[in-house]
């Protein structure tokens, strides 16, 4: 059974990764690149106080890389790494959905995969975005670890909460599920130091919508494709 699950997760992950990379190429990616233009302009505007003199050497000290770490060159290389990351994401999400479906029991089909995928999107896309909305590069934000911890905690609480609401018949456990899903938002996400951004507000709004659509596609497509593939594989090996 595990072998069929892993095989299906990889198969679905390949499909999802390719489709999502194509979707992102036309939706989120142009916005990210635009956001980075504003981000760089903002950094450059904040710089001159330190590096006033040397008119003739302008441009030499312009490049501001964080920690001088390697990063893929813009263009093909950058897109290629994004494709790989999307493939891994597709496999990861498919494996998690199939894992939950297997542990829960019942048939594993495209339709049920889709339903679990949509639930996954609620838990790991929609509900966390209420506290930490998807950010363009150049968004002011709280320290990264605190945001990651809040995001993961919220996704986990939302997933367990949704499970309790949808899968348990008892009213008190449904109520506990709702409370669990609400709890992270009562605690509150780490606050950004400022609400100002280098880019125009409309650009940020467009990106939030595009990002949520991308997440919804990732989870629902991964669920449907992996459920369908698992059904085919499990059928063949009996």
């Amino acid at each position: 059974m595990l072998k069929s699950i892993i095989l299906s997760a990889f198969g679905a992950g390949l499909l999802v990764g390719v489709v999502l990379t194509a979707v992102q190429f036309f939706t989120t990616e142009p916005l990210i690149l635009q956001g980075e233009v504003y981000e760089r302009a903002g950094e450059a505007a904040a710089m001159p106080a330190d590096s006033l003199p040397h008119d003739h050497a302008a441009g030499t000290a312009e490049h501001h890389h964080e920690e001088d770490a390697w990063e893929p060159a813009d263009g093909f290389e950058r897109s290629a790494y994004t494709l790989v990351a999307n493939l891994l994401m597709g496999v990861a999400v498919s494996a998690m959905i199939l894992g939950v479906m297997a542990a829960k029991g019942g048939p594993i089909t495209a339709g049920r995969g889709l339903a679990f995928g949509v639930a996954g999107f609620f838990a790991a896309g929609l509900l966390p975005s209420l506290g930490l909305s998807p950010e363009l590069p150049g968004t002011a934000a709280a320290e990264i670890t605190s945001r990651q911890v809040w995001w993961l905690g919220t996704a986990l609480a939302s997933a367990i909460g949704l499970g309790l609401v949808l899968l348990s018949p008892a009213w008190w456990s449904k109520l506990a599920g709702v409370l669990l899903a609400v709890l992270p938002h009562v605690i509150g996400a780490p606050e950004p130091p400022t609400l100002e951004a280098a880019y125009p507000a409309a650009l940020g709004a467009e990106f939030v919508a595009a990002s949520l659509v991308a997440s919804a596609l990732l989870w629902s497509l991964a669920g449907a494709a992996s459920g369908w593939l698992y059904g085919r594989l499990a059928d063949r090996r009996s």
Binding site: P72, A85, V93, R112, L152
Partner: protein, 64 residues
């Protein structure tokens, strides 16, 4: 809508997996998926961060 068609994958008697097989396989798959998800979407080393940068932003994961 999801459960309207009965799966041909779950034929009675033949390959319906035992309860424990199901739970263990599900838990292993979930753990595998979670590790991969964390490595792709959350790992801190800047090498991994920079390679997965656009994917993290696109799916609304905390970045930078």
């Amino acid at each position: 809508m999801a459960a309207s068609t009965l799966s041909p994958a779950l034929r009675p008697g033949s390959s319906a997996p035992a309860h424990s097989t199901r739970i263990i396989a599900g838990a292993v798959a979930l753990a595998f998926g979670l590790c991969l998800f964390l490595a792709t979407g959350f790992a801190a080393p800047s090498l991994i961060h920079n390679a997965t940068h656009d994917t993290r932003h696109a799916f609304g994961l905390p970045c930078h």
